[in-house]
Point group: C2
DNA sequence: ATGATACTGAAGCATATACTTCAGTATTGT
DNA sequence: ACAATACTGAAGTATATGCTTCAGTATCAT
């Protein structure tokens, strides 16, 4: 069975670079295009309102972030997505989500338990305090 | 029933700002702290190796991205996470993932179907390393 | 061989980021 | 009242980002 985790993680690329790479709409457009299949630099550039040079620079950001891989054959550079990096970015958020879901569950429980009391206190502090 | 989607989405904050906000390790640290419960600005600043002013500036980035909300009571500003923005960021990646998973499924199917043939098609490969 | 194609790479430039320090302003504790 | 606390906001500065243009260098097609 072919797994998309199959490629060697090589280096655990820092989330800094991954999120930074995704922060640009042009780069997200490139990723979006690449999730539909491999593409050349020129194809990636085609819908974008900027020079080829600029696109190549964006591509470098994506490659440095480990989101995209490319190789040249003849004069054409073909690019494709590497799922692992995006997966790491998704996972970081998912991990936090388990926390805040629990937090909201606790808040919900608290509100249910004290529904007869004054709820409109001015602070969210009222719900929980720690440290 | 209290839902964490309950808060009004107000504006659909652009992914640019959300990913940009997450690109900084200090800000991710702040989010991480806030997923464990509300905190004051000073509490957020405590583990970070920078001035309070810097932390307040990071907080502004998180608020502009819709990731964090805060309000002041007396002289204390208390902050908490707003799940919606992070959920949007997670969702964007999840949406792409369905594409590349399908893509890999197709590749897998292709490989299975043509396992007796030459695998080295020219599409992505050549396995040319050149840099 | 010649020209078109597909990049590559260096410079330059305007704006954005990530801080710093310093000088305030309300609140709160004693 | 007075000092400590918890920020707030303006400047200033160094580096990073997101482009541009221009001048190449390899292919590839004819």
């Amino acid at each position: 069975m072919l797994q998309y985790h199959a490629s060697p993680p090589a280096a655990p690329i820092p989330l800094d670079l991954i999120y930074q790479a995704l922060a640009d709409p042009g780069r997200r457009g490139m990723v979006e295009r690449l999730t539909r299949g491999p593409a050349t630099v020129t194809q990636l550039a085609e819908p974008l309102p900027m020079s080829l040079s600029a696109v190549v620079q964006h591509l470098k950001v994506l490659e440095d972030a480990g989101i995209v891989r490319s190789q040249k054959t003849g004069r054409v550079r073909t690019c494709q997505v590497i799922p692992a990096a995006l997966h790491a970015a998704e996972q970081w958020i998912a991990d936090r989500r388990t926390f805040w879901e629990r937090q909201y569950d606790q808040l919900e429980a608290y509100l249910n338990a004290s529904s007869s009391e004054a709820i409109g206190n001015q602070e969210m502090n009222g719900a929980k305090d720690q440290e």
